[in-house]
Structures are given as structure tokens and as C-alpha cells.
């Protein structure tokens, strides 16, 4: 029983990370129907941005105080992630806006490799995993029979708060409405005075900011990062977005929690243990796609028209 609860808690913490990344996948897809496979790498460079901030920008005196250094690391991670995402949009995707859909998709894979290799080559010593500072915030917090790292709780809290904020922003603000309008009918949206490029840039920026936050928090939770964390978590996040119904914000977050739970529970209880936990994730994905191709919360294709 304790194991079950503990694994559920671990699954939720993993889902929180994946969810922050999945939101970026689903938002970009909603606006320009591009599966941005390089989005996982945005998460990765966000983590390295936070690490670089800690190593080279933070003054010695405040490194140990997590309530000072963590916000600054988050800021550094977000700035790096957003910058990379905007450059990617401007120079890799925008020239292909009207190309056949396969072209930007392949480009996304290319961008993904470029970013992985750029970090490996140019971040000092990054051909091996880089330790994240763990001097701060390494408390274990006990809730009844289960025990979680403080960083896991932080991830869960931040993920929930940001998801709710994003939902409010998209539903209740001018630019949020412009995003939804562009997703539903880009030409008509332009005729309402909406500049599609601004909407697309904003979408990439928001997605990247969430991924940057996730990257830094993931780093301080796992305590070391390498240039492959983007690929691995990106695949999970992409799967979560598809599972929840790509284009749907709520679907991405819920899909992420489902995947987090399948991974931890499958690793614990299914034959094969943790070596096979990926298998259960993709088995569930295949089942959902067979019986509900639009995903759990996706809108059926016809309403796009």
C-alpha cells in the first residue's frame, strides 16, 4: 500500500515535468499544425541555461540560498529557452510556413540534433552529464506514509500553477483569444486585425518559457543533466500531448499525468519492472489512438474546417 501511494506520488511528479513540456507541443501544433520535435531540446537548453546562470552569473554569496538562487536560475533558463525557440521559429520554421507539412517536420528533427550537438560541443565538459547544484533544497518531505523530495513537490506545485495561469490567459485575454482564433481559422483571424506572426511568436515564447522552467526544476530534482534529457522527456511530452488530444491544453496536462503514472506504476507492478516501463506507455498510446484517434480531449477533425 505504501509502495502504491509512493509510486502514485512519483508518477504525479514525473507527470508535472512532462506536462510543462507537453503544453508547448500542443500549443504550437494548435496554431500552425507543426509537431515541433525540437521542443524537447528547448527544455534541455533551458536546463543548461539555469545551470550556466548558477555557475557563472550568481555571486558566491547567494548560491546557497535557494530562495534567491532558484528564481534567478529559473529566469536564466527561461531567457535561454525563449531565445532559442524564437530563433528557431524565425530562421527554421517561418521560411517554411507555406511549404508542404513534411518540410518543417523534418526541419524540426534537424534543429533538434543541432541543439543537442551544440550543447555537447560548446557547453564546457557537456559530453558527460553535468552535476546540478544540490546543496540547496534537498529536504525530504513526509506526507503520511509517502516521502517526496522537496524538489518534486515544487515541480508539482509550479506545474499546476502555470497550467492554470496559461488556461486563464488563453481564455480570458486579448492575445489568448487571438491565439484561439488563429488556431480555428487563420485567414479570418487576419481579417479581424490579428497579426499571425505575433501570435505565432507569442505561442513559441510561452511554450519555451514553460519548458525552460521545467528544465531548471528537472535539473535541481534529478541533480544532473546531459544533452539527451530533451530527447527522452520530449518523447514523453509529445506522447502526452497526442494522448490528451493534440491542440488541447487540458488534454496535454492530463495526458502527462497519465503517462507519469503509467511509467511509475508499470515499472513497479508489471512484468519486466522498470526496464519495460516505456513499453506500457506506448501500449496505452497505441490503444488510445486505435479507439480514439483524436486523443482523450481532442476535438474531432471536422470542427476545424
Amino acid at each position: 500500500m505504501t509502495t502504491l501511494l509512493q509510486q502514485i506520488a512519483n508518477g504525479i511528479a514525473l507527470g508535472a515535468t512532462i506536462g510543462l513540456i507537453a503544453l508547448g507541443y500542443t500549443m504550437v501544433y494548435g496554431i500552425i499544425q507543426l509537431i515541433n520535435f525540437a521542443h524537447g531540446e528547448v527544455f534541455m537548453v533551458g536546463a543548461f541555461g539555469g545551470l550556466a546562470t548558477y555557475r557563472w552569473l550568481l555571486p558566491e554569496g547567494i548560491r546557497g540560498d535557494w530562495y534567491l538562487s532558484l528564481p534567478l536560475m529559473l529566469l536564466g533558463g527561461v531567457v535561454v529557452a525563449v531565445t532559442v525557440a524564437l530563433l528557431m521559429e524565425r530562421f527554421a520554421y517561418r521560411p517554411l510556413r507555406n511549404a508542404p507539412r513534411l518540410a518543417p517536420l523534418i526541419t524540426a528533427l534537424g534543429v533538434s540534433i543541432v541543439l543537442q550537438e551544440a550543447i555537447r560541443l560548446w557547453f564546457p565538459d557537456a559530453d558527460a552529464a553535468q552535476p546540478f547544484p544540490k546543496a540547496f533544497l534537498d529536504a525530504q518531505i513526509k506526507i503520511g506514509p509517502i516521502s517526496l523530495r522537496a524538489t518534486q513537490l515544487l515541480l508539482i506545485a509550479v506545474s499546476i500553477v502555470l497550467s492554470v495561469l496559461l488556461q486563464t490567459y488563453v481564455n480570458r485575454s486579448k492575445m489568448g483569444r487571438a491565439m484561439r482564433a488563429t488556431a480555428q481559422d487563420p485567414d479570418t483571424a487576419r481579417l479581424m486585425g490579428i497579426n499571425p506572426n505575433r501570435v505565432i511568436v507569442l505561442t513559441f515564447a510561452i511554450g519555451a518559457a514553460l519548458a525552460g522552467v521545467a528544465g531548471v526544476l528537472y535539473g535541481i530534482d534529478i541533480t544532473n543533466v546531459d544533452n539527451a534529457i530533451g530527447f527522452q522527456n520530449g518523447i514523453f511530452a509529445f506522447t502526452a500531448a497526442v494522448l490528451g488530444g493534440i491542440g488541447s491544453l487540458r488534454g496535454a496536462v492530463i495526458g502527462a499525468f497519465v503517462i507519469g503514472l503509467i511509467k511509475t506504476l508499470g515499472g513497479q507492478y508489471m512484468p519486466g519492472g522498470t526496464q519495460y516501463d516505456y513499453v506500457w506507455i506506448f501500449v496505452v498510446l497505441i490503444l488510445v489512438l486505435v479507439f480514439r484517434p483524436q486523443g482523450l480531449f481532442g476535438e474531432a477533425e471536422r470542427v476545424r474546417a
Binding site: K174, A189, G193
Partner: protein, 280 residues
């Protein structure tokens, strides 16, 4: 010359020699149109005459091969969002609402280009953000009341009856604070009562100071509504003038009507009914 003097010296909307060529096909050939302040101009012509293409040129969806479009004497860039910000709004022949948004949200999207909140302000939900949101909502509700949809604001747009969707499109276009409103077949698929209501609505819009261009198949509707009528045939402007002059012009009768107007009226009515059956 001051901006104000320029405003009164020029027609509010003017198209000069608009030509649109697609590949080898000339869809529009040297079409000009003049819309004076506070007037309603009708644009008629058989199917495929280029009426909607002309609207697409006016609103920047197409870049004309030749010719210019001027709003109050100033050249309009062929960019839909710029055209809307400058003050030209339109509706569509085949309705193009944002189907998954509520009625009120559709109108609020129309308000977009007149709102100023930045991304940061809307995240913080500060007082100026709330003030602007509330003002936009109030204006949108006024417009919904104006077109007769006050009680439907929370409905999802795609669930509205057909005639209401047309009115919602008009409310959304008006939300952009246009100087000129372009209506593409506003009564297609409407019954006689709805058509009459649409006519009154267009007069009411004109009375608020918005100048209007209407594309329509319903001849009787056009002649009873417009201050001036232009006839397009095969991409060329055949005749333009006051409704009674155009109606009596033998070339129009030959090229477009083909038969005395009374017979055409009943036929176009029939065609409109058929449209309604075809469109869900």
C-alpha cells in the same frame, strides 16, 4: 493638406483599375469602384463574375495584379490585418465564424485590433487590463444587441441557427470599428422576413456612419437598398449608376438579367431557397 481635409475630399473607399490575374485567367479586369461616406453601394453580377474576388482584393486577401485600393485617399497595403486596422471590415459568403468560441468571444475577437493590452499586463490582470476587458465586453454586448443577438452571447457559435450566424458575422465585423463594411451575400439562404430584417439592419448600420458595399444575388433586395449599383460581368465592370438607371439599362438586362426583372426576382428567390437547403 490636413488629414481631416483629406477625409472629406476623397470618397471613403475607392478602387482604381483593379486587375487580378490567376495564372492565365483574368478574374478581374480594370474594375473601379467609388464609395462615398454614408452610402450603400451594391455589387451584382452572375456567378463567377468576380464579385468575391473583388472583395478579396479590397481586404488584402489577394494582392491585385494591377490597380490600387484607397481608403479616404490613402493607399491600403494588401495585408488583411492592416486593412482591418485601417478600417475595412467584411463578412463572408460562406459564413466564417470561429465555430468553437462563444458568440460573445467571436465579437471580442473583432475588438482585438482596438485593444491595447500587452502580454505582460494580461498575465498580471491589473486594473487597466480589467478596465479594457470590461469596456470591450460592454461594446461587444451593445453590438450583439444592435444585431438582435443579445440573448445568445453564451452560445457556441456553431450551434446558432443560420440566420443568426450571419448576424453574428456582422456584429463581429462592426466590432473592428470599421469605416467601411463589406457584406458578401448577407441574405443568402434567408426567408423574406429575415431578408427584410437584414435590409433594416444594413440601413441602421449606414445610419451609424459606416459606409457599406453589398454583394447580393437578390435583385429586388439590392435595388431597394443601395444608393448606387455596379454590375460585374466576367470580371469587367459593365454598368454603374443609380439603381433605377442600372435596372433599365438594356445591357444589364441582356447580360445579367436576360429576362425582365420581375421573372428574375422570382427565380433568384428560388435559388436563394435552394442555397439554404444546401448549406447546413
Amino acid at each position: 493638406m490636413t488629414a481631416l481635409a483629406q477625409d472629406t475630399a476623397h470618397p471613403v473607399l475607392e478602387a482604381r483599375g483593379v486587375t487580378m490575374v490567376f495564372g492565365g485567367l483574368t478574374a478581374l479586369n480594370d474594375v473601379s469602384l467609388r464609395l462615398d461616406r454614408g452610402k450603400i453601394v451594391g455589387l451584382i453580377g452572375p456567378n463567377g463574375a468576380g464579385k468575391t474576388t473583388f472583395f478579396n482584393c479590397l481586404t488584402g486577401l489577394y494582392t491585385p495584379t494591377k490597380g490600387t485600393v484607397l481608403l479616404s485617399g490613402r493607399r491600403l497595403a494588401p495585408d488583411p490585418s492592416e486593412v482591418t486596422i485601417a478600417g475595412v471590415a467584411r463578412t463572408f459568403q460562406n459564413i466564417r465564424l470561429f465555430p468553437n468560441m462563444t458568440v460573445l468571444e467571436n465579437v471580442l475577437v473583432g475588438r482585438h485590433c482596438r485593444m491595447r493590452q500587452g502580454p505582460i499586463a494580461s498575465l498580471l490582470h491589473g486594473p487597466s487590463f480589467r478596465r479594457e476587458e470590461n469596456a470591450a465586453k460592454q461594446r461587444s454586448r451593445e453590438l450583439l444587441a444592435f444585431v438582435g443577438l443579445a440573448s445568445a452571447e453564451d452560445e457556441i457559435a456553431r450551434n446558432l441557427p443560420y440566420g443568426d450566424q450571419r448576424r453574428l458575422e456582422i456584429a463581429r465585423a462592426l466590432a473592428t470599428d470599421p469605416k467601411v463594411l463589406l457584406l458578401d451575400e448577407p441574405t443568402a439562404g434567408m426567408n423574406p422576413q429575415e431578408t427584410e430584417a437584414a435590409r433594416q439592419l444594413i440601413f441602421a448600420i449606414r445610419d451609424t456612419g459606416v459606409s457599406v458595399v453589398v454583394i447580393e444575388h437578390d435583385i429586388k433586395f439590392i435595388f431597394g437598398l443601395c444608393d448606387s449599383v455596379s454590375v460585374l460581368v466576367q470580371g469587367e465592370l459593365l454598368v454603374e449608376g443609380r439603381p433605377e438607371v442600372v435596372r433599365a439599362d438594356p445591357r444589364v438586362i441582356e447580360a445579367y438579367l436576360g429576362k425582365p426583372p420581375e421573372e428574375i426576382e422570382s427565380e433568384t428567390r428560388g435559388a436563394a431557397e435552394q442555397d439554404k437547403r444546401e448549406k447546413p
